[in-house]
């Protein structure tokens, strides 16, 4: 080091001259580049946050209207001559009347309604049939369900709230305009004007739509009646299967790997497998489910049990990884103390380590379940895209009935032509996101309240 002073200043660099306070050009350049670099970082974070905000706003703005629906109020006279010709009030007899038998009653009710309000469809250039088309085709089915449930009401006049046609509903949500109605074969501007008139008189209104949450899916041409009831039940059943299979198996596997496994090739093989399974594309699990559970074992297609099994295999790695982390975080002193007072290895694990690791295990499980709830691709391969109108039965038989699942229902709706289904799909996404939010909140609360720092 002594000869360092002997060397003169580096000849290749210009000698620094001027003040230390005033920055020279090179320093300024370096500072500018420093600020630019910071700015890039901020912009990147900004883009990430912006993407999240735009994503959520887009889904919310598209989906919130799905929870509102336009209804037509009407009082229907349940004509005994049409519904129960023999007057026996025999439920089997009443069931024989198809929805076609109920349509005239609705036509009647609408006629009277218009008359009492002093509205003549003719003035709008509409026939009675055109005016009737403003009510959803689902109305007759709704009426029939009501009569079968309450046969004693036959002969009475009952207040009903019928779904309006999807296009009329779209008009009040801004999806259908006078101009687009000109080109639309399903709705005419005259019908929209009549709807405005009815709305002014209070015969037509927009209300919260419980049916969206409870009802089953509906066919292509009646989007107004489609709901996510079957999908919610199907998703719920699958989550039950996942919970009851993945939690015990995952915990058992983690206990073995973390507490008992000797270090040998077999344990290594298991570990490698688990970390690889965590990164296998979800659709591959769908292929597995199709090949093994449906084609080989012969379980029915579209059944929640198959979906649950596939999702179990998919979430197992997640649960095992988080369970092992929380088992590892229990300090060895706990095990040593248990062994010291004469417990066996098994007792020390099951009586002491496992209960202490439980909050972490549950948090991991809930996060795994949330992941499984949003998964779509594997379910499509095991036939869950099928159109399901019937609610699955009660468990355990219900696990084998065809059902839908929330994310698959969303996909299913996006493939349909009527734009009203896009609104439904976004609405279903909102429900799905709410479920996920709740699950993650529970996980966070569990972690905050029960997690111990050793």
């Amino acid at each position: 080091m002594t000869d360092a002073t002997a060397q003169g200043p580096d000849a290749s660099r210009p000698e620094r001259s001027g003040s230390l306070i005033a920055l020279d050009e090179r320093t300024r350049r370096r500072n500018r580049s420093e600020r630019r670099f910071r700015l890039y970082g901020l912009i990147a974070i900004g883009i990430g946050v912006l993407a999240l905000v735009v994503l959520l706003t887009s889904i919310l703005s598209q989906g919130l209207p799905a929870f509102q629906q336009t209804f037509v109020n009407a009082s229907v006279y349940l004509d005994p001559a049409k519904l129960d010709k023999n007057g026996t009030r025999d439920i089997e007899e009443i069931k024989k009347v198809s929805t076609f038998g109920y349509a005239p009653l609705i036509a009647d009710a609408m006629d009277r309604k218009m008359e009492s309000l002093g509205i003549d469809p003719e003035e709008f250039g509409l026939s009675d049939k055109d005016a009737l088309e403003m009510i959803s085709k689902e109305a007759a089915a709704q009426l029939r369900r009501y009569v079968i449930a309450n046969p004693d009401q036959i002969g009475q006049t009952v207040e009903f709230r019928f779904l309006a046609n999807g296009r009329i509903d779209g008009y009040y949500k801004g999806r259908v305009t006078m101009e687009s109605a000109e080109r639309d074969s399903n709705v005419s501007p005259a019908q929209l004007r009549l709807a405005d008139e009815l709305k002014a008189d209070g015969a037509l209104g927009t209300y919260f739509n419980w049916d969206f949450i409870t009802a089953a899916d509906a066919s292509e041409n009646r989007p107004e009646a489609a709901g996510i009831g079957v999908a919610i039940i199907g998703s719920f059943y699958m989550m039950l299967v996942v919970l009851f299979l993945a939690l015990p198996i995952g915990v058992a596997a983690s206990i073995y790997l973390e507490e008992f496994a000797p270090k040998n090739w077999f344990t290594d093989l298991i570990e490698v497998n688990i970390s690889n399974l965590a990164a296998v594309p979800s659709i591959v699990f769908g292929i597995l489910g199709l090949a093994i559970f449906i084609n080989y074992v012969g379980l029915p297609q579209s059944a929640p049990i198959v979906g649950g099994l596939v999702l179990t295999l998919m979430t197992l790695p997640t649960i095992i990884i988080s369970t092992r982390a929380s088992l590892k975080s229990v300090p060895p002193s706990i095990r040593d103390a248990a062994l010291g007072v004469g417990a066996s290895k098994m007792q020390s694990v099951f009586h002491h380590v496992l209960p202490l690791a439980m909050p972490g295990i549950l948090t991991g499980t809930i996060i795994g379940l949330a992941q499984a709830l949003g998964e779509t691709a594997p379910l499509m391969l095991i036939g869950m895209v099928a159109f399901v109108r019937e609610y699955p039965g009660a468990p355990p038989e219900g696990f084998f009935d065809p059902a839908s699942a929330l994310p698959v229902q969303v996909y299913n709706w996006t493939t349909r032509a009527d734009p009203a289904f896009v609104e439904r799909a976004s609405g279903a996404i909102i429900v799905l996101l709410l479920f996920l939010l709740c699950m993650n909140m529970i996980a966070i609360i569990l972690r905050r309240r029960f997690e111990r720092r050793w």
């Binding site: 990430g48 999240l52 994503l55 073995y256 594309p281 659709i283 199709l290 098994m346 779509t376």
Partner: protein, 493 residues
Amino acid sequence: MPLLWIVLVVLGLGLIGYLMGRSRALGSAGGDGRQLHSLPSYYGWHGFMLTVVPALLMMAAWLLVAPSVIENRAAAGIPDAKIAERGSRSLVMAEVRRTGEALDMAVAQGTMDEDMARNLRADFTDVTERLKATGAIITTTVDQPILEAAQNYRVMAKASNLYMSIAVLGLAVVGLVFAFMRSDKDFRARNVVEQGIKAILILASTIAIMTTLGIVLSMLFETANFFEQYSWREFFFGLNWAPDFRGNSELGMLPLLWGTLYISLVALLVAVPIGLFAAIYLSEYASPRLRAVAKPMIEILAGIPTIVYGLFALITVGPLIRDWIAQPAGFGNSTNSVITAGLVMGIMLIPFVSSLSDDIINAVPQAMRDGSYGLGATQSETIKQVVLPAALPGIVGAVLLAASRAIGETMIVVMGAGAAAAQMEQGLGAIINPFQAMTTVTVKIVSQLTGDTDFASPETLVAFALGLTLFVITLGLNVLALYIVRKYREQYE
């Protein structure tokens, strides 16, 4: 006997085993628990375990093996001509199974009695109509060979169920008696029970291996079937993807692979710079307050299901890009495009890249930064010239993991990228436009396997070959990435 009942009865026997084992052990010690080798409950659990576990294992094995045995024997009665007529054995067997179920339903509904269901002849009576009347799914006319096989199938299935009930319950009773005989005050019940529990734990942890094995075997098996019907050269090197369920399909994989890689590339071009810069800022510059807000916000993006991203691509990003960029500039007029899917997938991958890189950057020792500052470098110079080069292997690993995620992603490409395969035969110009629709491996797996599929035709089986290709590619990327990341971690530990 229905399965549920068998399980319940076995569990009931297990309960009896628990009580009997416990009381006999206690009895042998004259009611004094201190004389026993183990706690009394261990004798109980010993009884329960020996009763229930072998019986249920036997049941599982039976259920796994019996269907294929029965099917083979029922199929033996079907003439070869019949199989040739319907296309394949599995199709005929599906029909046999459906007919068998219909017969069961007819008996259950009382429209047929047991004798009739067993001896019905299709050439004399209108079986098809009668079976349809039960509400069963009968699609074709039931003829004599099918009906006969179905009747055999039914009888064998019933017999198998009966034998299984007897075997399972018998084994449970044998286990119970054995456990009872062994229960004695000097018997080391706890050791035996703990061995048993350990065996169950080992069994649970082998499920991961079995899953991998199941994935590989099921796909290998069907892929082998596919290559029997379709040349592997044309699959791996074919430039045209044009499946046709009437036959004469061209099933070249390269257009799909191109689409997959192209979309993944676009996604990585979005995700890697944004994710990396976000990670750098969060770990090197951000105040604790900003970090506490921004990091979870970005990580929410990772928790959102891919179907939400798919919908976002379909209803927001796709139309936006078409109306504002693609159409005015004359690049194309499709809402589905490579750029739509790539952009949205890139957003999905941001948290993936950023949180992995964040960990890796934080693992670079502080001493290296301090050394750089001591030499007069600014913070950004330190990051660019010291921290990033040190973290590079880890970041490469993170990018590879993100790439594997992108290649295997399904919903975003199903809803955002379209269904038309790249027109590779028309040269590079036709496949390089990012504003045109392009399909991927995962999209085609979905489209070939959903709906009514016939598991004998190459058009369906190709999905398994595609799946296997996808599995191998992602597995390779993952193994490589994990290897790199692990090597890197060791460097600084």
